[in-house]
């Protein structure tokens, strides 16, 4: 059956360099002297260590517990003794350390008692928790905890489950070899995911430079007899293996940045992840090893089944690194990251150890100014205008970079790859993104400080008001007393003052008091004066009152005159 495929914009066609590492089957790796297993290997919270120095561990024993739901467990990759739990250099360009468990293998590689689950009887939630505790994460390189992605969207079902066997990065062939050698088990994992997601169709996308893998998967599908699963050859064009690009090619759907693909009825998993899910659900084996391609500056590029935590140089030695090797790159030549040392451990994200040399990956020619030729925009699979974002990144005009959709950039490297001026465009975009994140963090900190300040002000204001209310209540009580004495009807209105009422009551009480004082004082003063003086005083009084209250009617004459 011929399926209509869609195109994504841009993309590039670098030399694939995949032939040499696919000539030999997947090979095992002898146990190294020690394994360094970082606890934090997935997106999400770092797992809590469950072991300490001196503990005896079995293969598959949980050594790090998932920290909340957005996290994934970590396991001992072999049996042995925990030598230490300490921060160790992680496989990241930064050279930073992360809490790791150092295991000295006992050589027996013995599984402990495995925590099994009955797939048919378990509820979807139980299955998801099980996969979280089995440490299953996306093996395409993003290491996002898989259990979180195994939830259908709001409708409770999914149109299409996309399985990513595209493997578009040059040199990397671990997915290719997995599909060639383990298609049947991978397919069982896919069936389990399909069941959990209630997916109608399953589309397995494989770049057409892997005919053997495609044939193996198609044969496995036929043998399984399952309907609605299809393995599809897609044109070889980097980055066809980007989840969004693959979804676009197979279904025509474009999932925008920041949206969940399940909202569009699609979910995407890597073929390696499908295999790990099968291993966990069928055999109860947590994720303790993965397939790793060793390629580049080595004599015999090959794929290995590597225990998580194995030092990279231990694996590379098997393939025979050449003497001019100057670096290891984790991942492919387009998106891979340079390792800070040769002995950093293989982790769940390690799909490839690309051995580099100055001859194989020479430094780029000198950077020239941008001539706005637009090659980068032609190559961008996210339809961005990289040369515009570059301009604004250089000018540190980060607001503008965001207007030009900086955060839609998937850092695939196509723009840097084609740039005739040899500008490291992706580096500029990484820089801009990290600057924006840093500023947002600063802004958040400032916001927190401001909120704290405003709350303090509010509290002081409230205390002031409470004080005023207390005073008002007191004043009202006084006035009630006064009103009771003079028996005026006004007293009845101010029963329980609060807020504005309290203030008004306070003012009224004060005015009342003044009036009474005045009323009492006026007759006293005139008692002892002559009529002349009295008349003069009355005139002065009248003038003063007129000046104070120009609109007020002339005051009543003093009591004595009446």
């Amino acid at each position: 059956m011929l399926r209509k495929l869609f195109k994504f914009h841009g993309g590039v066609k670098p030399q694939t360099n995949k032939e040499r590492s696919t000539t030999a089957p997947i090979a095992p790796v002898p146990l190294p002297d020690k394994l360094v297993i970082p606890l934090h290997q997935s997106v999400g919270g770092p797992p809590r260590p469950l072991v300490q120095r001196g503990d005896q561990v079995f293969k598959g024993q949980r050594i790090g517990a998932a920290d909340g739901n957005l996290s994934s467990a970590v396991h001992a990759s072999t049996s042995g003794i925990v030598r230490d739990v300490l921060p160790a250099v992680m496989p990241h360009t930064s050279g930073l350390t992360t809490l790791s468990v150092v295991i000295e293998p006992d050589g027996e590689d013995r599984w402990g008692e495995l925590d099994r689950i009955n797939v048919r009887a378990a509820t979807p939630d139980e299955l998801r928790d099980y996969l979280r505790d089995a440490g299953v994460v996306g093996l395409g390189g993003a290491v996002f905890p898989s259990h979180l992605k195994l939830k259908p969207g709001k409708e409770g079902s999914l149109d299409t489950l996309v399985i990513n066997g595209a493997e578009c990065e040059p040199f990397i062939t671990c997915d290719d070899m997995l599909m060639r050698e383990r298609a049947t088990d991978m397919l069982k994992g896919i069936s389990a995911m399909r069941h959990m997601l209630q997916a109608r169709d399953v589309l397995i996308g494989i770049e057409d430079n892997k005919p053997e893998a495609l044939a193996a998967v198609q044969a496995a599908i036929t043998a399984s007899g399952e309907k609605g699963i299809e393995a599809i050859a897609i044109p070889t064009r980097y980055p066809a293996g980007g989840a969004k690009q693959l979804i676009r090619v197979l279904t025509g759907i474009e999932v925008p940045h920041g949206r969940r693909s399940t909202d569009f009825g699609v979910q995407c998993f890597n073929v390696g992840t499908a295999y790990s899910i099968h291993e966990a659900l069928e055999h109860g084996r947590p994720l303790v090893s993965r397939l790793v391609t060793v390629a580049g500056n080595v004599n015999a590029p090959r794929n290995y089944e590597v225990l998580i935590g194995t030092p990279m140089d231990h694996v590379v030695r098997l393939a025979g690194a050449r003497p001019d090797t100057d670096r290891y790159i984790m991942g492919g030549p387009m998106m891979g990251v340079r390792m800070p040392a040769f002995d950093v451990p293989v982790v769940k994200a390690t799909n490839c150890i690309l051995v580099g040399s100055p001859a194989l990956f020479p430094p780029p020619p000198p950077e020239m100014p941008c001539i706005r030729c637009g090659e980068c925009a032609k190559a961008c699979p996210a339809d961005l205008a990289p040369f515009e974002m570059y301009w604004f990144s250089r000018a540190r005009n980060f607001g503008k970079t965001q207007e030009y959709h900086l955060f839609d950039c998937i850092e695939c490297g196509c723009c840097s790859f084609v740039c005739p001026s040899h500008i490291p465009l992706v580096d500029y975009f990484r820089f801009s993104k990290s600057e924006i994140w840093a500023r947002e963090r600063e802004k958040e900190a400032a916001d927190t400080a401001r909120e704290r300040f405003e709350f303090k002000n509010l509290r002081q204001e409230r205390e002031k008001q409470e004080k005023a209310e207390k005073l008002a209540a007191k004043a009202a009580a006084t006035r009630e007393k006064v009103a009771g004495e003079t028996a005026t009807p006004a007293a009845a209105t101010a029963a329980k003052p609060s807020g504005d009422d309290a203030k008004r009551a306070l003012i009224e009480a004060a005015m009342e008091k003044a009036r009474q004082q005045k009323a009492q004082a006026a007759p006293k003063n005139v008692d002892v004066t002559s009529p002349d003086v009295q008349a003069e005083m009355a005139a002065i009084d009248a003038r003063r009152r007129a000046a104070e209250h120009p609109t007020e009617a002339p005051p009543p004459p003093p009591a004595g005159q009446a």
Binding site: P14, P333, P369, C373, A377, G413, S416, V418
Partner: protein, 340 residues
């Protein structure tokens, strides 16, 4: 520290510029064939002046000389200047124009990639304003031998009017204006009759139309090589054809045919080599269409109603001014944000 990607396509500014130069070669060959080898002398003068000006400015600005002198961008500017100026202008005029382009319009704005205006066209405009007579003397095809051309380029005194005439575009416009006035001997003649003179060929100017065809071939090769896209040439030619066709269909006696406009002057050079300069031109697909169509309409207006022999240079500069806003307003929707 070098980050990913670690591999790159073998592409460079130099190879882009080199391909542009190669694409100009058929046009230059046709030019030499019909108008004599004088143009080769002009190309050499302009190239030398451009490199000298660039080197001096790079030294003053403290930029790496070897890197920027070999990027060939100055040579492209120099060749465009030589090919748009009349082939018999004195050497100092070519040198002045080239230095203005490279030193002021390009380097003072920040060098490669930074100039808002097309350097060659800015030089053309400055020179035609400063030396209108010299910049309007075009020899007809086969009129001057190489020695005369050399004398004109390097010699002192010149009786230009006696030697040369205007471009076919200029000649036709003057003739059409004369034909419109009652006391002229040309009164009552139609455009097609006016174009019977020795300066005119089958479509445009005699000889010039073949040069234009050669530019067209070079330009198509650039599109095939993916150095330029089809947008600017197609929009320019399309809009020029439509604008000229509209007036021509209303009053064929008073206006030249659209094909004459396409085959004359710098239309082909402009469409494929000048407006397509990525630095000073629009960059988005829709922006390129707008930019080129605007340039075509302006070119036509200047040709038909203005005082200058050709309108490409002024039209280019005017549209260069609009490029930032055109680019800003024509950004294509990004992945996932398209309206289907």
């Amino acid at each position: 520290m070098i980050n990913s990607p670690y591999i790159r396509k073998p592409a460079s500014v130099q190879s882009v510029m080199l391909q542009v130069l190669l694409a100009l070669v058929p046009g230059i060959a046709a030019y030499v064939w019909f108008f004599g080898a004088g143009i080769l002398v002009q190309l050499a003068i302009a190239s030398a002046a451009a490199l000298a000006g660039e080197a001096a400015m790079l030294a003053i600005r403290g930029k790496p000389k070897a890197l920027f002198l070999t990027d060939l961008s100055a040579i492209v500017t120099a060749w465009l200047i030589a090919l748009t100026f009349p082939p018999i202008v004195p050497w100092w005029l070519t040198v002045t124009g080239t230095l203005l382009a490279v030193v002021i319009v390009k380097q003072l704005y920040g060098g490669l990639g930074q100039n808002p205006f097309n350097p060659a066209m800015a030089a053309f405009c400055l020179m035609i304003v400063a030396y209108p007579a010299l910049m309007s003397q075009w020899p007809a095809a086969g009129q001057l031998d190489f020695k005369t051309q050399l004398d004109l380029i390097f010699g002192g005194a010149r009786q230009v009017d006696a030697i040369t005439g205007a471009t076919p575009l200029d000649a036709l416009r003057t003739a059409l204006r004369s034909a419109a006035s009652a006391d002229s001997e040309l009164h009552g003649l139609r455009a097609s009759q006016l174009m019977d003179g020795p300066a005119f060929g089958a479509l445009g100017g005699k000889g010039g139309e073949w040069v234009a065809l050669a530019y067209l071939l070079g330009g198509l090769w650039l599109i095939q090589r993916r150095i330029i896209t089809w947008h600017i040439p197609a929009a320019f030619c399309g809009a020029l054809f439509l604008t000229a066709g509209l007036l021509w269909s209303v009053r064929p006696d008073s206006f030249a045919s659209p094909l004459f406009h396409l085959a004359s002057g710098g239309a082909m050079l402009g469409a494929f080599f000048i407006l397509t300069d990525p630095v000073s031109g629009a960059t988005t697909a829709r922006g390129k269409l707008l930019f080129a169509a605007g340039a075509a309409v302006l070119t036509y207006v200047i040709r038909a109603f203005g005082a200058y022999p050709d309108g490409i240079a002024f039209a280019t500069l005017l549209m260069n001014i609009l490029v930032p806003i055109i680019d800003m307003k024509t950004q294509a929707p990004v992945f996932g944000h398209k309206k289907d």
